[in-house]
Each structure stands twice: as structure tokens, then as C-alpha cells.
Amino acid sequence: MSDLSKRAAKYYLVQGVRLFIAVLLGMTFVGTVWILTHFGETNYVESVFYRIFSLGTVFMIMMNFMYSVYSPGWYDSMVLSMGARRKDIFWGVLIKQITFIVCYAIFLSLMSILTSRPERIKSIMMSSAVSLFMGAAGIIVGHAVKKYGRIVYHIFLIIVLGVGSGSLVMLEHREHVFTLGNATKYVIAMAGLLLFVIMEFVIYRLNKKSMVA
């Protein structure tokens, strides 16, 4: 590993930790508000922790996606302008995302154990895999935004909202396209990981000719 690669890896590792701390502070704020709001209610501790856990898994996915969208046209562009190589940026972004997801997964897992709900760890693993996939998707969207402008981002949001709303409607009416039984979480996690790997190949190619915005 070259000196520049090491410096890039360290820089992105710190960025991953910073992102985790920022999200953690946000979660702490929301959690405090919920605790104050529900204080005194029956089982309020469990209720609040359940809410924090649910929000936490969504946050892990959404924040990783959002930051990844910004990456090619903003963060990575700055790093590229300071003499980093494209391959250092590729690996650096991966390090940043994995650092964020691992820190977050450890935090949520600890919360699950402390609240005597270790079965939630399966959900955390699934969310981690989906977060990796969404992070990769975010980078691809970010490259497209850099090339074609913000319209790409708006189109992507419309698609996500459409698919999300459709899924919610289907869930509401119990209209499942396919049922996976107990294997649902594993299948989703495996699909997420598989898509993540495929997308990383695409990102590697996109990154090879990236320019300072």
C-alpha cells in the first residue's frame, strides 16, 4: 500500500466516523425529544427504544445514500483536486461507507442487547447490507448528477417515491408479489450485497475517468 493510499484511507476513515457521530447526535436529539414526550407512559422506555431502533435503521440507509450522492461531485472532487488518485478515492469511499455502517450496526446491536431484544440483530444485518447497496446506488446517481445535472437526482427521487409508495400500498392490501417466509431478511441481505458488488464494478469504471467538478 503506497503512502498516498494510506493517507487517503485514513482521511476517508475519519470521514466515516464523522458521519456516524453526526447521525448519532441527530438520533440522540430525536431520542431525547421522544423520551421527554412519552415520559410516564406505560412501557415508555421500550416504546421509545423501539422507535429509535426503527428510525435508526432507516437513517443508516438514507444517510449513506444521501452522502454518497454528494460524493462524486463534491467531496471526492475536492480530494481529487488535492492530488489524490482516482483509485485512492474509489477505495476511500468504500472505507468511509463501511466505517459508517459498521459503527452504526455496532451501535444498534448494542442497543438491541441492552434492551434485551437480540433478535433485532438480524434486521440490523439486513439493513447494513441494504445500506451498502444504497450507498453504491448513491455514488452512481452522484456521477450521473455530475454529468447531467440535478435533473437526474429529481428523477431518481420520483422513482424511489413511486416504488416506495407502491410497496406500501401492496403491504397495506397484503398483496405480496412473492413470499419468502422466514428467509425474507436473509434473501434481502444477500440481494443487497450482490447488487452492491455489481454496482461497485460500475463505480470503478465511472471513477476511472472522473474529473474535478
Binding site: M78, L80, G83, V145, G149, A213
Partner: protein, 293 residues
């Protein structure tokens, strides 16, 4: 002496050719001035030379080694770009300290103490967001990064844009100090030619994606003259010379010429004056028939 060399560089954005077969050689240990009008291709050339953008065609090397994705070459170069208060997602919410931290991480010879001194000198609040800085302050941040990088080849793109006269003088003084102490190479792209002209040991003039001149500044200016007088006398005196920006007022005529070599022996009946770099550049650009953009 090392050489940053670009050979036959072509850069296209879609159908538009921004750099047309550019050949350039930057010898280390000199201060270069890169001059060109808006849209001439200055920033693109600097981006391509420093591997921040890929060339469509051509080869860029530093001492014979490719610059593209080459740690050895990249670690010797700093191209401090103009900062933008907006990004494609909205305001640039990075703080000054974010830029300085990134610079510290990636410039191998980063001088943190010097950076602190410069921050103090230019009175920059490092906790401020880039989007909240004035144009001059943004320029100061790019100057701080460039100087504190201590890179062997340091490139500044419009470093004095928006700076007040005091800050500009401080910048020129810093460049001279740094150059005399370290012998670093500076390439300075600027529109404020008159002020900076005395800094430049060599001047590169780029126009419409082509390098027009690449020469020692003193030698270049020694060949340039402003000749005025009776129109016939001026025409006779400048016969066979490249004439720029002819202006007539009645029977009088004024032209700027660039001789092949210094020549004091113009025909009688005309007045011969030296030309400043800015006036020469203006005459050359005006001659091309393209007025203010």
C-alpha cells in the same frame, strides 16, 4: 532542473474542442504567468496538466513519468483551484477548516504552521462556511492552500480575484519570498496582468485553445513596440512585421508590433515606445477581432 511537459494535448467537451494540440513545457525553478481571455482554455489546460481532468489526446509527463494517476508525479504538484460558493446541490457548506484538513491529508509536504500564519495574515475565520466567504476571502483560502502545500510545482488559478490592493501586495510579496527561499515553481493564471507582470520570469499566452507565445517575459517584451506617427511612415516602418491593433486618427496611426528580435532601428519619422505586457496582450487580443466577452 525538472520539466512538466504536455505534448499534443487535445481536450474536447462534447463537440467543442477547448484545447487544440497544445504543446507546453514548464521548467522548474521559475515563475510562470499564464495569460488568456475568459474561455481561452487556461483552467482546462491547468486541469489537464495536473491530471485533475483527463486529456482527450496527448501526453503529460513530469521528468518523463506520466502524471496521470502517478503518485510520484502528483506528490510534486499542487493546483489550487478557485473555490465556488455553490455546488450542484446548493451552497458550498464546507468550512475553511474542512479544506485545510483535506489539504493536510493529501499534500505530502504540507506545512501546518505556515498555514496557520497565513490564516492569521489574511484574517480568515476557519470555522466559516465557504458559501459565507467573500470572493476575496475565497481567493485567500486558495492562496493559503497553495503556499502551505509546499509543492515543488504550485499552480494558482486567478489567485488575486476579489482581493483588495493590500491583500494583493501581500500575495505578491509572499510569492517572491517563497520563491527566493525555496526555488519552488509557480504558475499563476491571472487577469490582473499589469500588477503581476514583474513577477513572471516566463509568460505563456493562450488564446482560443492554442498557446500563442511561451517565452521569457523580458525577451518577449523587448521585441514588442508601440509605433506611432504619420500613417505612411508607420506603414513603412512596420513593413514585414507582425502588426497588432492598428488605430488611426486622421493622418496619424498607432500600431503595436512584435519583431522577431529586439530592433531599435525603425525608419525615421515615427515614435517608438516600449509596450507593457498588458497592452501587448490587449493589442494581440483586439487584433483577432474579438472584443470584450
Amino acid at each position: 532542473m525538472s520539466v512538466l511537459s504536455g505534448k499534443n494535448i487535445v481536450k474536447k467537451y462534447g463537440k467543442e474542442t477547448v484545447l487544440k494540440n497544445v504543446n507546453i513545457e514548464i521548467e522548474t525553478g521559475k515563475i510562470y504567468g499564464l495569460i488568456g481571455r475568459n474561455g481561452a482554455g487556461k483552467t482546462t489546460l491547468l486541469s489537464v496538466l495536473t491530471a485533475q481532468n483527463p486529456a482527450t489526446k496527448g501526453e503529460i509527463t513530469l521528468d518523463g513519468n506520466p502524471v496521470w494517476e502517478n503518485e510520484k508525479s502528483l506528490s510534486r504538484i499542487c493546483y489550487s483551484r478557485e473555490l465556488s460558493p455553490v455546488t450542484m446541490f446548493g451552497p458550498n457548506n464546507f468550512k475553511v477548516k474542512d479544506y485545510l484538513n483535506a489539504a493536510k491529508a493529501f499534500y505530502v509536504n504540507w506545512d501546518g504552521e505556515y498555514a496557520k500564519e497565513l490564516v492569521k495574515l489574511f484574517n480568515i475565520d476557519i470555522k466559516k462556511k465557504i458559501s459565507k466567504l467573500s470572493k476575496g476571502m475565497m481567493s485567500a483560502v486558495t492562496i493559503i492552500i497553495a503556499l502551505a502545500s509546499k509543492a515543488e510545482i504550485t499552480i494558482l488559478d486567478e489567485p488575486v480575484a476579489g482581493l483588495d490592493v493590500v491583500a494583493r501586495e501581500q500575495f505578491y510579496k509572499l510569492i517572491i519570498e517563497e520563491y527566493s527561499e525555496t526555488g519552488r515553481t509557480f504558475i499563476i493564471s491571472t487577469h490582473i496582468i499589469e500588477e503581476a507582470a514583474s513577477l513572471f520570469e516566463r509568460v505563456i499566452i493562450i488564446d482560443n485553445g492554442e498557446i500563442k507565445f511561451q517565452e521569457n517575459t523580458e525577451e518577449f517584451l523587448a521585441r514588442a513596440y508601440r509605433i506611432s506617427g504619420d500613417a505612411d511612415a508607420v506603414d513603412k516602418a512596420t513593413e514585414g512585421l507582425k502588426v497588432y491593433h492598428p488605430e488611426s486618427l486622421g493622418r496619424n496611426k498607432v500600431v503595436t508590433v512584435l519583431a522577431d528580435k529586439p530592433d531599435e532601428n525603425f525608419a525615421e519619422g515615427v515614435q517608438v515606445e516600449a509596450v507593457s505586457l498588458q497592452n501587448l496582450f490587449y493589442a494581440m487580443c483586439t487584433n483577432e477581432g474579438r472584443e470584450a466577452m
